[in-house]
Assembly symmetry: C2
Amino acid sequence: MGNSVGVVKTNYFSFGYHPEEMPLESGIRLGPITIAYETYGTLNPQKSNAILITHALSADAHAAGISAENGETGWWDNMIGPGKAIDTSRYFVICSNVLGGCKGSTGPSSLDIKTGKHYALTFPVITIADMVKAQKHLIEELGIKKLLCVMGGSMGGMQALQWAASFPEMACCVIPIATAVKHSPQQIAFNEVIRQAIMADYNWCGGNYYEGTPPHSGLALARMIGHITFMSEKSMEDKFSRRLKNPGYSFRFTPDFEVEGYLHYRGNNFVKRFDANSYLYITKAMDYFDLSEETHFPPPATGAKVRFLVISFKSDWLYPPHQSQTIVRLLKRKRYDVTYCELCSNYGHDAFLVDINQQAELISHFLSGEFAKCAS
Amino acid sequence: MGNSVGVVKTNYFSFGYHPEEMPLESGIRLGPITIAYETYGTLNPQKSNAILITHALSADAHAAGISAENGETGWWDNMIGPGKAIDTSRYFVICSNVLGGCKGSTGPSSLDIKTGKHYALTFPVITIADMVKAQKHLIEELGIKKLLCVMGGSMGGMQALQWAASFPEMACCVIPIATAVKHSPQQIAFNEVIRQAIMADYNWCGGNYYEGTPPHSGLALARMIGHITFMSEKSMEDKFSRRLKNPGYSFRFTPDFEVEGYLHYRGNNFVKRFDANSYLYITKAMDYFDLSEETHFPPPATGAKVRFLVISFKSDWLYPPHQSQTIVRLLKRKRYDVTYCELCSNYGHDAFLVDINQQAELISHFLSGEFAKCAS
C-alpha cells in the first residue's frame, strides 16, 4: 500500500483584491478570495507531473498525510502517497478546498472585509464553474500551465468534468468518479431536504448564527440524511443488520438499533467540523451543475484532446452507474478517448473513499500511461 | 373500472373499558380503545365474504367512496367498489384506522380519560401486533369468525402478515403488497431521520404541542423525506426532470426546481391532515416489526392453511422485491400455498396506490378463486 506523505501543512493563496474581484456565474464579483490547498510530492522541472485532486461535498484540502495542525489523516490517504495509486514519488499532487467551503477557503463563514462581519447569507451563491475558476487561479499561481490530470469523486467528479468544459487546454486527462453531468430530480430532492433540515433549526437564524449558537441539530440531521444515501442497502445490512444497542426494544423514541446510533454519532461528529451555511452553498452548487446541455461540453475535440477515465460503482444508488454511462455517451459522441469502468463494490457511493483496491489499480495504470504520453 | 361505493360515513367502535384494557406487546395495558372504520358492500348471511383492508403509514379508514364528512375520495378507491378488483357487489369490505393513528382511532392525540389531557408521549409505544389485536376486536364485534382475506400495502402488508402470524385461523387468504417481514437497517435509518425531523422542531416540545403550535415545519420535512422514498428515480425523472419553477436559477436558497416545489407542497399539505406524534408512533411500530425470527410465522401449516398472494414492484427501492421474495421463501419452507408476482411499474413504492391495473387484475382473480374455495 506504500507509505504516507508524512506530516503536511495547509497553504493559503489569496487573489481577487479590488478591483480584480473574480466574476461569478451569477454575475456578482467576489474578492478577495482565499483558497486553502495542500501539495504532496515535487513538481518536476518541466512542470508536467501535476495532478489536481478535487474533493467531494464535505471534504477539504487535506487529502493525504498527517495534518500538522490536528494530526488527522487525509481523506484520500489510501490513494495518495509514495508508491500508492497517485504516486507522490512521481507526481506533484495538489488538493484545494472549494470556494464556498469552510476549511480555509473563502465561504459564508469568512469575514467580509467590506463589513468586518461574517458573510453568512450575503455570500453570493456559487457554482461548480466558480469553484473551478478559483482553482485555475491557484494552478496558475503555482506556475503550472497544464495539469497531467484532474480527478475526483462525487462533487469532485463534477469539478473534474467542469475543468474539461471550462479549460480543456489545461488538462491532459480527467478522471470523474461516481459522479454525473447533472443532478437528477432525486438527487436535488435529497439536497433540498438536507437544506431544509438546516434551515428549520431554530438556531440557524437566517444564517446569522456566527455570533451565537450554530444550528447543530439541523446540520447533524442533514448529515444523517446524507449518510443514508452514501451507503448501500447491502453495506448497511452487512454493517448493522437489525442489531440493537441494548437488549430488547426500549419502547421509547430513543435509538434502539445500532444503525440509528451510528447515524447520530456521525451527525454529531460532523457538526464539530463543518459549517452549516457552507453545506447550503455547496449542495446548491451541485444542484445547479448541468453540463448535459452545454454546447461546450465536451468541447469540440480539436487539437490536444483531453482523455477520460470514467469510474462508477454498481451499488452506488446516489450517483448510479447510468449517470456515468451518460458521461461516456456525451464524450463518445464527440469522439473523445474514454475508458469506462463500472466497479463491483457493496459500499454504495462511499466506495470511492473506502473500497479502493480496484479503483487504485485502474488509476495507477491510467496515470502511468498518461504521464508517458503527456510528459513527452 | 366500475363505480364508486358512493357517500360513506366513518364508524367508531370502542372497547377495552376498565378493567378490560387491552394488553400491549410492551406489557402495558391500554383502554378504552376506539377504532375508526368504514365498511362497503354487504356481509352475506354465511359471513364468509368479509375482506379486511389494512392501511399504510399515513392512511386511514376511508379507503373507498366519498367521505360524507369532507367529500374526499378514499385512498384505494381505484381498487374498491362495485365491479372493481375488490368488488363490493360480492364482498363485504372493512377498513379500520390503526391503533396509534390520528384519524379517529385511539392514539397519542387522543384524550386520556385518566387525566383529561391528550396522551402525547404518555401514550404507550405500540407494535404492528398491537394494531392487529385491536383490529381483531373490531372483526369479532362485526360478528365475523373468519375473514375471506386480509390485504394491504406497505405497513398494511405488515399487518396482513401479522394476521397470518397471530390469528391464522381467522383468514382464508392474505395479500401482502410491497412489504417486508422486517425493516432493513436502511428502512430504519430513513424512519429515524424522519422522527428526528419532527422532534427537532422547536414547536414539538417533547410532544406536548396540542395546546399550542404543532411542529408543522418538522412534520412537513419528515414527509418530504418520506416522499422521496415513495417515488423512484425514474418516476421523478418522468414527472419533473430538471424543470425550473421560474426561468433561470434564483441564486438564492428558495426552491428553484419543480421537484423541490412539489416536495414542499406535499409536506405542507400533509401537516393539515396528520398528527406529528402519530407519525413517531407508527414509524416506530414499523421498525419494531420483525416476523423473520418468529417461530410462529408462518405458523405450522396444519389444519386450514392460509393461502398467500405476495406482490412487489420492480422499481420499489423502499420495499425492494427481494424483501417480498423473503416472505415467499419463509412461507414455502413450511409448504404454504403462495403465489408471487413482481410487477413492472416505474412508480416505486407508490405503485400499489397509483399504478393498479396489473395489481387489480391479479387480486380480482385471486379473490374469486379464494371466495369459491372458502365460502363453500
